[in-house]
């Protein structure tokens, strides 16, 4: 069941993450991709773990901008890879 305002992000291992469009728009790059029309974007170079964290980040960013100021916790093992992805995604 695909609801209207959602997009699907597909990781390297072909794991699918379905998130709200608003959340996805936090990344300007994803926002610009034409595939938004279709509703799904593939990231063959980003692993599922990282992609998952990124999705969490999107939601956290939305919450933060709406005033809920919490912390975003990052597991230290993920940090290095996690740094590359936002660079790629302009987040």
């Amino acid at each position: 069941m695909k609801r209207k305002d959602t997009v699907k992000l597909i990781s390297a291992e072909e794991m699918e993450f379905i998130i709200d469009k608003d959340a996805a728009m936090v990344s300007q790059t994803i926002g610009g991709f034409a595939e938004m029309e279709l509703g799904e974007v593939t990231f063959p170079e980003i692993s599922a773990v990282i992609l998952e964290k990124i999705c969490q980040y999107f939601y956290w960013a939305l919450q933060y901008s709406r005033g809920k100021e919490t912390e975003f916790h990052i597991e230290p093992e993920l940090t290095l890879e996690l740094m590359m992805a936002p660079n790629y995604l302009h987040t």
């Binding site: 390297a12 034409a34 170079e45 980003i46 230290p76 093992e77 890879e81 302009h90």
Partner: protein
């Protein structure tokens, strides 16, 4: 990063593909190049953006940003070259259309390319200070397409042609024009200005220069202005529809310069339709239009104002010097008021109450009203007329209106003290003969004068009113105490005037008839009884009397006459016929007054209670007078008193002038002393300036007179001349 000893770090190999292939860059670039081609060929939908983005990302990451960038430039440029060829090939009317379409497509393509190359935009470009992608796209468009000289000149020509067509009344595609100008503006303000606006303004200037020349030969002023206004509005509308808003000011400037400024003088001076004619014919709409249009042009309003001012001055001067007009002072002043009303209306309705115009109007009026030295007298006569009969039955508000108008004229007078003199005389006559229409109106005017000129100006006038009131009370007292005594004798009514307040009159001789003397004495005793230390003298030249007369066939009439006339008529109780000399001897009335009084008794039709031999109009020393038995009149009460205030004859006028000059001398001296006391030392020019400033609310002092007064003060040792500098004066305490 907090060090966590729990888990050991595991740095895994980066999952991105490692560059091994040296031709990697070339391959990646090819992919991107292909993508760009597809985009320009409208095949974008088949591409995966993520992949392209990733490719671009990789290139930059692996230090091939330069290659990517230069490749982009080359590819885009070649595409644009193709595009400009196709645009150039477009025929005639389709040119703009084609250009517009391709521009829209380019924009879309640029957008997509930018999205793909966003990483490069973000990192590589700022580092190397190259132009960002979007801007690059615009610049390339500008250089390759627009500035391609075949296209550039054609574009300009077509745009200007369209404007020209629209100006001649054709309908053009405004939406298309809008897109094109917007494109030019997007490419940079200088592109819009250099490629279009500059030429637009030039061409427009030429166009309007020609058109205005045409119009001015064929139209009159009013029509021309209408056309100019219409064109101006057109241009403003044009800008709002398809030009940059900043062009509005520039194009309106052009229109105004060509249509208005170049022809300003000619328009204003146009025969039969220029400014003067509009004013005379009261064409408010045209005047209003002229005002609005000329306001935008430098010196436009100055021109209108100057022409109007000189016209008002000329008209005013004519009015002032017209001998016909001057014969009737009331009419004269009414004309002045009408003139002022007319111009006020013009300024309010057409010139938006512009203060500078009001000021010009005021100064013009001030100028010509003071050209005629008898203006103060005439204005006073006007007021006199109004307060005697003009304001009868008029509502309070309207009375105020008229008085305010009079005050306005009063303000223009430079010689306010002359006005005061005349006003006093006229007021005295009005009060004493009881001829004022409305006491309230009189008082209201006094109040206005007081507000304008201060207490000093009106103190004597108010004194006159007080005297009248006091006299009433005195009379009541007199009648209460002596009422029984009088019985059948003549009824006396006295007004006691304080000498200082009333205009000075020379005391004249006049022998009152015996019947009157009795009661006069009674009053004198009564008055002096209550007010010791005062001196009373009868002013026989200012009184009136009511006589009951019976004529030939037994008709009775009541005659209202002056005191002099009463003395003369009473003589005929004892004699039927008297010579001039006899009358003069008995009454001892001065010659000129006697002649005037006899004239009104014997020579005026309907009022000739006396007959004169011979029947001439003038009174000669040798005339004889008879009681006119045959006198008839429709009315029971007949008024034969001396007439209301007249404009003075020349000699009288000279006399009044002289008195005014005499009065001014002490005022000037007082001012000089006041100034010197404060300043101690002052030079001649400054004294003159200060004195003039102090006295200008009353009159304009003559510098020669001031000089004389200074010398008189030096003689009387109030001032002295400085030993060293002859022009310096010193105050002597």
């Amino acid at each position: 990063m907090s060090a966590q000893k729990k888990k050991a770090f595991q740095i895994e190999a980066f999952k991105h593909r490692v560059v091994v292939d040296p031709k990697y860059a070339e391959k990646t670039w090819k992919i991107l190049e292909h993508a760009i081609h597809e985009i320009y060929n409208h095949n974008a939908s088949g591409l995966s953006f993520e992949e392209l983005y990733r490719n671009a990302y990789n290139m930059v990451l692996h230090k091939f940003g330069e290659k990517l960038y230069s490749g982009l430039v080359t590819t885009m440029t070649s595409h644009l070259k193709e595009i400009s060829n196709s645009i150039e090939a477009a025929q005639g009317g389709l040119f703009l259309d084609e250009l517009n379409r391709k521009w829209a497509e380019h924009n879309k393509a640029l957008q997509m390319i930018r999205d793909i190359l966003m990483y490069m935009d973000r990192t590589f470009i700022p580092n190397t200070h190259k132009t960002p992608v979007h801007e690059l796209g615009l610049n390339l468009w500008r250089d390759v397409v627009i500035h391609f000289h075949a296209i550039q000149s054609r574009l300009q020509a077509i745009l200007l042609e369209n404007v020209r067509r629209e100006r001649s009344g054709e309908v053009i595609d405004r939406g298309l024009m809008r897109s094109i100008t917007k494109m030019l503006m997007d490419l940079g303000p200088s592109v819009y200005q250099d490629d279009f606006e500059k030429h637009f303004l030039e061409v427009s200037a030429d166009f309007y220069r020609l058109e205005s020349q045409e119009f001015i030969e064929s139209c009159d002023c009013g029509e021309y202005l209408k056309k100019a206004e219409r064109r101006l509005n057109e241009e403003i509308e044009r800008v709002s529809h398809y030009l940059d808003t900043r062009s509005e000011v520039k194009i309106t400037n052009v229109v105004e310069t060509e249509m208005i400024e170049s022809h300003m003088h000619r328009l204003v001076q146009m025969e039969n339709s220029g400014l003067i004619n509009m004013i005379v014919d009261e064409k408010f709409e045209d005047l209003g239009r002229m005002y609005c249009l000329f306001r935008q042009v430098s010196n436009g309003l100055v021109l209108i104002r100057d022409v109007m001012t000189s016209f008002i001055r000329d008209t005013g001067k004519q009015l002032i010097t017209d001998p016909e007009r001057l014969k009737d002072p009331v009419d004269f002043v009414q004309h002045l008021l009408d003139l002022k009303d007319k111009y006020d209306k013009i300024i309010t309705s057409a010139f938006r109450n512009d203060k500078t115009f009001q000021n010009a109007l005021n100064s013009s009026f001030e100028y010509f009203i003071n050209l005629n030295s008898r203006s103060p007298e005439f204005i006073s006569l006007f007021v006199d007329d109004k307060l005697r009969k003009g304001l009868r039955g008029v509502t309070e508000e309207d009375v105020e209106l008229v008085l305010d108008k009079v005050m306005m004229l009063f303000r223009y007078l430079q010689e306010k003290d002359v006005f005061e003199k005349y006003y006093k005389q006229h007021l005295a006559k009005r009060l004493l003969s009881g001829k004022s229409v409305s006491d309230d109106a009189e008082r209201s005017l006094i109040v206005k004068l007081k507000t304008e000129c201060g207490y000093q100006f009106t103190s004597k006038l108010e004194g006159m009113f007080t005297d009248m009131k006091t006299s009433q009370d005195t009379m009541q007292g007199f009648h209460a105490s002596h009422g029984s005594d009088i019985g059948d004798g003549p009824m006396l009514s006295v007004q006691v005037l304080t000498t200082g307040s009333w205009p000075t009159q020379p005391i004249t001789t006049c022998n009152l008839p015996a019947e009157i003397l009795g009661i006069c004495e009674k009053f004198r005793n009564y008055y002096l009884g209550t007010h010791t230390g005062r001196r009373l003298s009868w002013q026989t030249n200012m009184g009136t009397a009511d006589l009951k007369a019976t004529f030939g066939k037994g008709q009775k009439h009541e005659l209202n006459v002056s005191t002099y006339q009463m003395c003369v008529l009473m003589l005929f109780n004892d004699a039927d016929r008297l010579s001039y000399k006899e009358i003069e001897q008995v009454t001892e009335i001065p010659t000129s007054d006697l002649k005037r009084c006899l004239q009104s008794l014997a020579c005026v039709k309907g009022k000739n209670v006396l007959r004169k031999e011979p029947m001439s109009k003038d009174i000669a020393d040798t005339d004889t007078f008879l009681f006119n038995d045959k006198y008839t009149s429709k009315f029971f009460k007949v008024k034969i008193g001396t007439v209301a205030a007249q404009r003075e004859s020349e000699p009288e006028n000279q006399e009044t002038r002289q008195r005014v000059e005499e009065d001014r001398k002490p005022q000037i001296e007082a001012a000089i002393v006041r100034i010197m006391k404060a300043r101690r030392v002052l030079d001649h020019n400054n004294i003159v300036a200060e004195v003039t400033k102090q006295l200008q609310s009353r009159f304009l002092p003559n510098p020669v007179v001031i000089k004389k007064r200074i010398e008189s003060l030096i003689e009387r040792e109030f001032l002295e001349r400085d030993k060293g500098d002859r022009k310096l004066y010193r105050y002597l305490a």
